[in-house]
Amino acid sequence: ETWKFATEEDKNDVQDIFAKTFAETIKEESGGDIKVRIFYYGQLGTENDIVELTAKGTLQFVSVGTGHLGSYIPEVQALSLPYVLGTDVDVVRKILTGSKTIYSQLSDRFEKANLKLLTMISEGEMAWGANKAIRTPEDFSGQKIRTFTSTIPVETYKAFGATPTPLSWGEVYGALQLKTVDGMVNPVYFIYNAKWHEVQDYLMFPGQQPYVGTVSTNSKWFNALSEEKQAMVHKAITVAEQAAHDYQLEINRENMAKIQTERPDLEVVILNDDERSRFKDLSAALHETFYNVVENAYAESEKSDARENAKGILESLIQEVKDAS
């Protein structure tokens, strides 16, 4: 039999390495009986499309960032809030693979969309790109920052003092080059692959959050699998998570080195604790935004429960991060 696994990223990006390792492991474990066919960025449509196709059962596995999943499972955007997960590699990994909050409270919400959450992966710290050093919210003033257009990132950069600007992916390079926008936000390996380092003079590391990818399967389909096959999937997920983790660290390091060789004049700014704490304080206001976003997704009668639930998820998540640090 053939299982289908779609990711939102290109060949040799972190999610693709995850999918490849998953496919190899499944092939080995099943003695070659089960093949996993991988689809990468755009082959089967948009991020929304592959999530819907997995929820429907046309595809069996899907990996997308928390931002895109938020259109279906608004609670997952707790992980998109700045300064919730932080950027300590070990803490982030511990939470993303083993958090009680994520794998009991949050994964319940996945079932509603007929999805089953298998694991989450960090793809590295989100760095800010710009043409000036940004250390304070005042530095952000008047800066047009290209973000994903969903509410949480838009409100995040508004809160930080910038002008969040929507722009489709293909237009970003040209827009940065011609200064239609001033900056963008992405993990380092991604910035290098998109060549955006060619058109930015500064890279900032604010310790804000990692880019989080989520791996899910079709819930109904998974539950109907034999126990043996379910165990096989879980094993392959564990192996793939390890591979993606190693790869993420390596490719981010490697691409950072390449950026510095190709652009020796590009300045890297690592915000210190004082500077970070100002942004962290500003981001507290976004928790309210998150509750509103979740509430908005529910019918009138469920709104207050949904809000409480979202609050519970976020608060225990923050507690878990604190305990792990």
Binding site: K11, D49, S168, G170, G174, T180
Partner: protein, 447 residues
């Protein structure tokens, strides 16, 4: 013979072999195409047969993918450029641009068709679509050319092919879309389109001159314009000429994205035609918007259905399978560029060029990246093929546009195209072996 029956049996059984699938889908689609089904039907049939007969996938995915196909933000440029061009064609802009060119070269041997070529180049700098160019330049130039004694087959072929120039000169819908799909700077693509656009205009003009010589005394020459007439024509063309400056300036100063520039071109056209020339009334604008929406829908339903079809062939990984024997990995750059050009040329002969772009670009992007080919050069080449395809039988949107506005049967419209297609093939070869035609301006501007 046995092999043939095995093949038929495979088809009937719905056996999964990419060659069987490809053959069945292509065969069905070509039959439906030649039976003159609305273009959306062959694409829908291809997707339906694949999904239901060969794969057993819920056909609901077609609806989802139709929406995905029409969702890229860059597509907004299509209706906006069409609307801008329509407004300009209804008003004075196109007339004034043509008047300028005619005042300077109209009197030469072959002067009128050369005027058409140069006008397409100029009009191209205010319009992003070949169709709009066919309409505006065609409607003004065709009566003059016929009156001067040129054959209608030559005139119509000239107009639908010269519109290709407008597609290469920025702004261009093809370049914007390619840039978006291939994640390549549209600003660089725009600059790179200028060189090939001008070379093409020169090649066409040479042909026009030769054709006019051969026809000899059948063609009456237009008297040379006086200096005062020329100055008057220039003054009249000033406002329309300000247009490309504004658009290109807006993009290169970073004020607007190329997609937004399309909307600004509508705004500019409205200001010039309604406030300054005071030629157009509210009713004209509403009519133009309705006409634009109609064309947009007719094309976009194909883009959407094309995406549904392309989803299916991606799902079965058919393009990768078909391209594998061509051994593109590790091949020479010229060979890869040739294969890309050929694929787009053949694709655009049958399917709307925007649909071909959406289907084929993602397949070639990784190959281009691995080969070290300049993605900007590839974009210009692809856009040239799309432009050629728009005028190449059997299927070409410019041919249909010409049929619609000149009210002529299909065969009459395409009769004169072969010489032009030969010139366009030469242009494609030039681009492969002398890529500097496209890249030199880009390198000057961006390094």
């Amino acid at each position: 013979m046995d092999m043939f029956f095995d093949f038929l049996k495979d088809i009937i059984d719905g056996e999964l072999d990419i060659y069987v699938i490809t053959f069945t889908l292509l065969f069905t689609m070509i039959i439906l195409l030649f039976l003159s089904f609305p273009m959306v039907v062959p694409l829908a049939a291809g997707a339906l047969i694949g999904l239901v007969h060969f794969s057993d996938i819920d056909t609901g995915v077609m609806i989802q993918q139709m929406v995905t196909g029409i969702s890229p933000n860059a597509l907004i440029a299509v209706p906006m450029f069409i609307l801008a061009a329509d407004i300009m064609a209804r008003g004075h802009t196109a007339h004034n641009l043509l008047g300028l060119v005619e005042a300077f070269v109209g009197h030469l041997r072959g002067g009128l068709p050369i005027t058409a070529c140069i006008s397409c180049t100029l009009f191209g700098s205010v319009s992003g679509s070949t169709q709009a160019t066919v309409v505006s330049v065609g409607q003004i130039m065709r009566p003059k050319l016929l009156q001067a004694g040129y054959k209608d087959s030559f005139v119509m072929a000239l107009i639908i092919n010269a519109s290709d120039i407008a597609f290469l000169i920025p702004p261009s819908i093809g370049l914007i879309l390619y840039g978006t799909l291939a994640n390549t700077s549209v600003a660089e693509l725009f600059i790179a389109g200028i060189g090939p656009g001008i070379v093409l205009a020169i090649l066409f003009s040479i042909y026009c001159y030769g054709y006019s010589r051969l026809q000899g005394d059948r063609i009456t020459l237009v008297p040379q314009k006086s200096r005062t007439e020329r100055i008057a024509a220039f003054k009249k063309a000033l406002l329309p000429l300000g247009f490309p400056i504004l658009i290109v300036g807006g993009i290169y100063s970073g004020a607007v994205t190329p997609t937004e520039a399309a909307s600004f071109s509508v705004l500019y056209a409205l200001i010039v035609e309604c406030l300054i020339y005071r030629e157009l009334k509210l009713k004209d604008i509403l009519d133009a918007a309705l006409g634009t929406g109609l064309i947009t829908a007719v094309v976009f339903i194909l883009v959407g259905m094309g995406q549904a079809f392309s989803w299916y062939i991606s799902f079965e990984q058919i393009p990768q399978g078909l391209l594998a024997p061509l051994e593109l990995e590790g091949a020479s750059k010229e060979y890869i560029l040739f294969i890309i050009a050929l694929s787009f040329f053949i694709g655009c002969m049958f399917v709307d060029s925007l649909v071909v772009l959406v289907i084929l670009t993602p397949i070639f992007v990784p190959i281009v990246a691995a080969s070290g080919l300049d993605p900007v050069l590839v974009g210009v080449m692809i856009t040239l093929q799309m432009a050629i395809g728009s005028a190449t039988p059997p299927f070409g949107c410019d041919i249909f546009t010409a049929i619609a506005i000149f009210n002529k049967p299909y065969m009459d419209v395409i009769r004169g195209t072969p010489p032009f297609i030969i010139i366009l093939a030469i242009m494609s070869a030039l681009l492969i072996f002398v890529p500097e035609i496209a890249l030199i301006l880009r390198d000057l501007a961006f390094t």
